[in-house]
Amino acid sequence: MAEATASSKKVKFMITRQDGPDAAAYTEEFELPYRPGMNVISALMEIQRNPVNAKGEKIAPVCWESNCLEEVCGACSMVINGKPRQACAALIDKLEQPIRIQPMKTFPVVRDLVIDRSRMFTALKRVKAWIPIDGTYDLGPGPRMPEKKRQWAYELSKCMTCGVCLESCPNVNDKTDFIGPAAISQVRLFNSHPTGEMNKEERLEALMQDGGIEGCGNSQNCVRSCPKGIPLTTSIAEMNKQTTKHMFKQWLGV
């Protein structure tokens, strides 16, 4: 009878599923026994252990992605009760029921809640979000970074490419080729680094390509959604300033 009391409290889920990239989406309901401190990932693990839907039918377990389980890797992003966020940090106690879970449809859906965030990594490559230091001999230490600058740059470096800011942006969709807020903020990060700054024009020019910074429409949803509290709109405005300056410099030939 212990089991009956433990499972007397139920948690209801409505999960949007999809069997493959081109398959039609459908919603499936689940009822799981409540456990204190459970979150969306542990609920999905529960479904994996016992893949039975609310009607009692045995089904293929729901697929999802996760790694760190502490909101630093960004792999488990999904839309929970209408908001894109990390499933590993979504505590059941704090969610309204039934809990509706959907994949972040801004990205191609691979299966169920698994999405393909390749476009974000392509964007990082496009804006050259790294610091080139490779060479044939040791160049020695680079210039030092002022502590004050390091402090705000550190905040920008917390980006985990989770995709929440792209999902929240009304201008990232299939009618545009906008790279989204995350990569723009990374340009600000790498252009503020004393060594990275040496290649800043390349990154600014990448932002001035089609689908670059011009795609921003100032809805500012990104900054309100980023789980890392990254000041995305400040980064975008700052990059607006730097690309504008760069444009005039190019024209005037200075």
Binding site: P170, G217, N218, N221, E238, Q242
Partner: protein, 222 residues
């Protein structure tokens, strides 16, 4: 043209010359409220007495308007609003900027057809504009449509200034953007009020006099 420059030009034209013309237009019309037909006609005359007025109209108004308007429609089409799940003030202004842009587009075509284009056709003179407006806005349906038009255009103008300041990297941090929101939204209310009061002024009988006069001339001529 590469997207970045096309978009920058759209943004620039929104302010120079369009927003500047918009303010000028608000002032001229407000003359109708402040000093009746005389004041309004003086404003209209002042503008039309400018040298090279034909060139000025095309370079400072029509061409920028066509570019900004058509490209603006495309930008509006590209949006995928999500205000249901992201119920934030800025997100609403994002959506309103696009909706008011589309309303303004339709409204401007109608408004220019009824006023400036009738001058081109020779159906009305610059001096007859006041009474023409009187005839339009004394019809309740048109009055309401004009109200919607001027309020939409005023919002689009003021909120556009706000986003222009972001797009050119002038207001960068959250505090600067907040202060500029207050300033721009105040500007919205003021400019919208000026246009509304002008419309109310055109409804006054003093603008009708001239209209009767025009009708007499028309009937004599025909």
């Amino acid at each position: 043209m590469k997207g970045y420059y096309a978009r920058k030009l759209h943004s620039l034209l929104g302010v120079i010359p369009l927003a500047l013309f918009f303010i000028e237009h608000a002032l001229t019309n407000f003359g109708a409220f402040e000093g009746g037909p005389e004041r309004f006609n003086a404003g209209v005359k002042l503008l039309n007495d400018l040298p090279l007025i034909f060139v000025l109209e095309w370079v400072l108004i029509y061409l920028p308007l066509i570019y900004h308007g058509v490209y603006g429609l495309y930008i509006a089409y590209q949006a995928k609003p999500n205000n249901g799940h992201f119920n934030y003030e800025r997100n609403w202004r994002y959506l309103l900027q696009r909706i008011t842009g589309v309303i303004t587009f339709v409204y401007i075509i109608w408004h220019v057809f009824e006023t400036r284009f009738q001058i081109t056709l020779g159906n009305v003179t610059h001096e007859g504009l006041g009474s023409l407006m009187h005839d339009i806005v004394t019809q309740p349906v048109f009055f309401i449509l004009y109200l919607i038009g001027v309020v939409s255009a005023s919002f689009h103008f003021a909120n556009g200034l706000w986003s222009f300041l972001v797009a050119w990297g002038i207001t960068v941090g959250p505090r600067a953007q907040r202060v500029s929101s207050y300033v721009c939204m105040t500007l919205f209310v003021l400019v919208a009020l000026m246009f509304i009061l002008s419309l109310v002024a055109f409804r006054r009988a003093e603008f009708q006099e001239a209209s009767v006069w025009i009708d007499t001339v028309k009937s004599v001529l025909s």
